[in-house]
């Protein structure tokens, strides 16, 4: 069911491909920005990726003012304040975030404070609290999955109140996202697989949930085909830069798709499992993807079969009778999970994570039915339904 009325917005300039990092100095100058602060994490630093950025600023008249390289996987509003102080102290005029979801969300928070003023970023939480553009903000994703480089959302933990603070505003969108194959080349196999499955889930939910629209559909289907064509190849040849670039682009495309159509049941379950058992988001997506699609299908969801074309290719699509296509999609995903499990032991079930106990199901169910992602799932999900899916995913 495509909506007869929709909104679509993505003002992010995307620079993708070989030596795209070298475009950054010129792009910064376009924003009259000459004093960038780099925000990143230890993983990026230890993988030697900062060197690529340094190289890109060689032979340019712009210097990186400082590099904050200590963003943890679970960032916090306190850290946001701390980095904002550094930015002000050093008189920076722009931000370059290099990393995955946590680094990017933290940087979005920093950008709020350094643009709007103040020390408490939570004052700007909620929907559309910002009323004017922020400082020039560039993002270089190093995981191909979250799509944060093209979303207007940031989720940052408030460790004092022990809650997660959500910020939603179009001014949080980066000005420029740079997808350079060098930056995802060293991503370890398990994270490569998990983040690719997150991106695949973004695209599939964008295509099958109620917020779908013709523009998000086109990004979603293109992302699905790029992921399915490249994921196994990249797992087998980790240094294949072009394959990596395909996955990075797919992740950005899936990000554009879901940020304009929203996600559904798989993310509701995944958020809840992640919060309860501290399992990485991509792993949660990998576990729930086929089971939630199966639940939706059995309760009347009707367009899943169309995904077979981008997922399995024209020949497989043409050889499958239309009434068998939805099941073929689910079977394909199960097989993909098996292949990834063989290559990097990415858990396929709750049990395989070794970190979930059935006694935790009740809590996961409660969180799931309270997750806003359920609003746009095509099928209603109550507590019993969510429990049944958890049991199937065990």
């Amino acid at each position: 069911m495509s909506t007869p009325c929709y909104e679509f917005f993505c003002p992010v300039k995307i620079i993708a491909g070989v030596k795209s990092l070298e475009h950054i100095p010129h792009e910064l100058a376009n924003f009259s920005a000459f004093r960038p602060l780099v925000i990143t994490d230890q993983g990026v630093k230890n993988a030697g990726l900062i060197q690529h950025i340094d190289d890109a600023f060689n032979s340019s008249d712009i210097n990186i003012v400082d590099i904050f390289d200590d963003v943890p996987p679970d960032s916090s509003t306190l850290l946001v304040t701390q980095i904002a102080d550094l930015y002000r102290k050093l008189d920076c005029d722009s931000i370059i975030a290099i990393g995955g979801g946590s680094v990017i969300d933290t940087s979005k928070g920093v950008n709020i404070l350094v643009s709007e003023g103040g020390d408490d970023v939570t004052a700007y939480s909620g929907v559309d609290s910002l009323k004017k553009p922020l400082k020039p903000f560039f993002v270089i994703p190093t995981t191909a999955g979250t799509g944060s480089e093209v979303t207007s959302v940031a989720v940052i933990a408030d460790t004092v109140k022990n809650t997660k603070v959500v910020f939603t505003c179009s001014f949080l969108l980066p000005n420029v996202a740079i997808l350079d194959p060098r930056m995802t080349k060293t991503l370890p196999p398990k994270i490569t697989a998990a983040t690719a499955m997150d991106a695949l889930t973004h695209a599939i939910e964008a295509f099958t949930c109620m917020g779908k629209n013709p523009l998000s559909d086109s990004y979603a289907t293109a992302a699905i085909s790029k992921i399915s064509q490249n994921i196994i190849n990249v797992m087998d040849n980790p240094s294949d830069e072009m394959g990596r670039l395909e996955l990075a682009q797919a992740s950005t495309m899936a990000g554009i798709a879901f940020s304009n159509s929203m996600v559904g049941l798989i993310h509701a379950l995944g958020h809840s499992l992640g919060a309860t058992c501290h399992i990485p988001h991509g792993v949660c997506m990998n576990i729930f993807l086929p089971h939630a699609l199966d639940y939706n299908l059995r309760h009347g969801e009707s367009i899943l079969g169309e995904i077979l074309l981008p997922l399995a290719g024209a020949e497989a699509y043409a050889n499958t009778p239309s009434n068998q296509r939805p099941q073929a999609v689910i079977d394909y995903i199960h097989k993909l999970k098996d292949k990834l499990h063989t290559r990097c032991q990415l858990p396929r079930s709750l049990k395989e994570t070794g970190r979930v106990e059935q006694a935790q199901f009740a809590k996961i169910v409660e969180l799931t039915v309270d997750d806003a992602a359920l609003i746009l799932n095509p099928i209603e999900v109550d507590r019993e339904d969510a429990m049944a899916i958890l049991k199937r995913a065990w």
Binding site: C5, M210, L367, D370, A372, P378
Partner: protein, 181 residues
């Protein structure tokens, strides 16, 4: 200069929207006094929590608040002075609200089409949306409720009639002059 055409039609529409929001608010409050499903949902809602639903710009509005007994109180259009709603569900334009309240578009569709804004604590918003879906089963004719909801639950005609009778009973009591609940 903006010219309001067909004022009678827009007045009727806005009156209808106010009536519908008022009915939803008062029914939520009435059902919170006896309905087990609603009471269970409300258990997870903090005391003094306020839900506001409105039609922008200032066309129609309703607010309800959870009291110390775990039930909901009707606050009128706006929260009391000095209080702020914890969850605000707003529809961007009265014509868009009319699509929802005339059952041409369900709540999820309105949200999918970017016609609705949900602000505040989203998990509490999900709870309140479940409460409203639950009450729609009982106060709407089956045909309308089927359109308003993603899934119409399996309830018997008898159960529906009994609950509806209880709701109307409580509503009548609540509306007695001089009684404030």
């Amino acid at each position: 200069m903006k010219k309001e055409t067909n004022t009678l039609k827009t007045k009727l529409r806005d009156g209808y929207l106010n009536t519908m929001l008022g009915v939803i608010a008062r029914t939520l409050c009435a059902m919170s006094k006896f309905d087990a499903t609603l009471q269970k949902e409300l258990e997870g809602v903090p005391e003094n929590f306020i839900l506001q639903m409105k039609v922008l710009p200032n066309v129609a509005s309703m607010s309800v608040q959870k009291n110390s007994k775990g039930q909901l109180d009707y606050l009128g259009k706006e929260p009391n002075k000095g209080q702020k709603a914890n969850v605000v569900i707003a529809i961007k334009h009265p014509e868009l609200a009319f699509l929802v309240f005339s059952f041409q578009e369900n709540n999820a569709q309105a949200f999918a089409r970017n016609r609705t804004i949900i602000e505040g604590d989203l998990s509490m918003a999900m709870r309140m949306i479940r409460c409203i879906s639950h009450l729609e089963v009982y106060i709407l004719p089956k045909a309308a409720a089927k359109k308003a909801l993603k899934r119409y639950p399996a309830i018997s005609f008898l159960e529906k009639t009994r609950t509806a009778a209880k709701i109307y009973g409580h509503l009548t009591l609540d509306l007695l002059p001089g009684k404030t609940t």
